[in-house]
Chain length 379, copies 2
């Protein structure tokens, strides 16, 4: 019995895997001898190969950005609200490529993959990967797919950093860069939150120096705490307030540590537990480090305009008013640098109560701006 998907869904999708044998030189100085990237595509590459769009994922994202893996799937891909027929990234016009980054835990080579040198999982021996490394690996995937130039590279948060890095590392290969809810580098506070998350994982006795997989355990508590603290930074104070306020879990207060008193505690614990069951701790560590290390302007003594000067792309920057992880001020830093560098840049600050998570949500004004920009792209 076939299930009918919504008319604006890409429907059933299947991941594919690309294997690479040429060693990849990483920013940390190490070489990755061979690796695989898992990816999905939506829509059709046109004859002139001019309609390809790359989706870059954020901290806990992956290659499954839209559609369903089976008719039984309860949830579509993580950016299904923005990818599909008639959606902002319109699969009637664009050929969309979404991958799981190197170091990930959803199918691309990462800490839970077997290290060919030892025959055991890499674990903590997986090399540190940076936004630049990801962009280089994505460029190889583009080569493999016969895409010499992206119509657009698109990403939110850490994904937006990759989109920016593309215009610096491969200026001639990007016509449009859409960087959403992102920042040109982390602030001390951003790094501090990442460090708490890392310490939660690293200090979990079940972490075993990153080689927990060989012992058949996972640092569940550490990963749960890391996700809880992360999750608070994804939501705005207002959004948490209107969603939970001080609502109690039960009718009355328990005055103990066993029972949950407030709904918000229950929600956070659930988020943490659910995440710790599905995400790899070593990948989480790597992703937070990639965030910390991202600072392209450093090569130009902090001059972001000089850093972005080689870019040939046009830019759309979007931010959300209540995002305190990467506030609108952080996007404006990028916009100012792009203007100073003489680039074509559009910028919109979107009223949204949802905090950083807004970039994943179907907020009408957001979808409208996103759609209009994408519709203007000539393919």
């Amino acid at each position: 019995m076939p299930t009918a998907f919504a008319a604006d869904s890409v429907g059933l999708v299947s991941p594919q895997t690309a294997s690479f044998d040429e060693p990849l030189a990483l920013a940390c100085g190490r070489l990755l001898g061979s690796y695989e990237l898992i990816y999905e595509t939506y829509g059709q590459l046109n004859a002139s190969r001019s309609n390809a769009v790359l989706i870059c994922h954020a901290l806990s994202g992956h290659h499954h950005a839209a559609g369903y893996h089976s008719p039984q799937d309860r949830k579509p891909g993580w950016w299904d609200s923005c990818i599909g027929p008639g959606k902002p990234i319109d699969t009637n016009r664009f050929f969309v490529v979404a991958l799981n980054n190197l170091g990930g835990c959803n199918g691309s080579t990462g800490p839970s993959s077997l290290n060919p040198a030892t025959g055991k999982p890499y674990g903590a021996d997986f090399p540190m990967v940076t936004v630049e490394d990801w962009v280089h690996s994505q460029a190889r995937l583009a080569d493999r797919l016969g895409i010499s130039q992206w119509a657009a590279v698109v990403g939110g948060s850490l994904g937006g950093m990759q989109a920016l890095q593309w215009t610096i590392s491969y200026p001639e290969r990007v016509r449009h860069c859409l960087a959403i809810a992102t920042a040109p580098r982390l602030s001390a506070q951003n790094i501090a939150f990442n460090e708490v998350a890392r310490q939660a994982i690293l200090s979990d006795p079940e972490f075993h120096g990153g080689h927990f997989q060989e012992r058949g355990v996972i640092p569940r508590r550490g990963l749960m705490l890391a996700r809880m603290v992360g999750h608070i930074t994804y939501l705005s104070d207002d959004a948490m307030g209107s969603k939970f306020g001080r609502d109690l879990k039960n009718d009355k207060l328990n005055y103990d540590f066993t029972n949950v008193e407030f709904q918000v505690e229950s929600y956070l614990r659930y988020q943490g537990e659910e995440f710790s069951a599905r995400f790899d701790a070593n990948t989480y560590l790597l992703m937070t480090k990639a965030l910390d290390y991202f600072d392209p302007a450093q090569a130009h003594d902090g001059d972001l305009a000089a850093t972005l000067a080689p870019a040939q792309a046009d830019f759309l920057l979007l931010s959300f008013t209540t995002d305190w992880r990467f506030s609108p001020a952080r996007s404006r830093e990028i916009v100012d640098a792009l203007v100073a560098a003489g680039k074509n840049v559009s910028y919109l600050e979107i009223e949204a109560a949802h905090g950083h998570d807004a970039f994943l949500l179907p907020i009408p004004r957001y979808l409208q701006a996103f759609t209009r920009y994408m519709n203007r792209i000539v393919v």
Copy 2:
């Protein structure tokens, strides 16, 4: 060889202990049969006993608010910038009482005290204590000291909540209430951060259900994580940025998890480690719960003005512009309620880059406003 203390220091001080045998009925429904409160006093109680000021401490505070315990002490009490001859709380005029709250770990009866019923440390069996409970216990200490009415009850953060509660629980016993950098109740985000801190402690294998003391261990990792996440919320993004920015710990990046990359990580780890060596985990849990539970307006269906209507005190509310833990908006909620209730209230929002921690710092505008208000108090 006598050491000279600064002229505006209260100098050498010694804590005293008051024992109470009359059981204290707690908000949680349990009785505390007997207990001790450790406290310090600075200045002299005048003949009419009209110049007494109570200092209420915040989450990790205690009775040692000013002066030195020995000439060798490197640091004075935690609010030494505000208490002393010629300081905002001028010990030439006022008799100052500072105590360690019930449930604390600095000398008052708390989880690390011996439970007379078992002969072992209370640990997790210590009852939950609330801001209301503290105020009742403080009222008994006032009785013991012969203070029927405070010239002022003063506190910042959780201490400000106690100051407010005094005006509700004992309206006739408070002439002035100074509530600094505080809130009428926690927001969902505030509770969420507390919950992360608690889960860090509760999930530490060395916590042993709160009975770690009997086993001779401490949940060091959990307490460290709790403090790290707390510490981030005490500082503003700006303060962290100007203090640390993205400064590296060493000359170059290490690209590993063993070395600290950024100064801010090093600072946070140090803060966490130092704290975990001196603070009791069960007390930390109790203090965060006292914060969560504080919501005096709940008894009046959320009507804060009605809640504060019985107060006979005059009020000074102070907040700091970059405080995002208890932002100026939270102080304004209290000010609005006080105005609606027809109380005398002064309010000042102080420009300060330091975030929530500002209330502990010698910021000139802050000290000036604090001093002027205190000087107006008739004793």
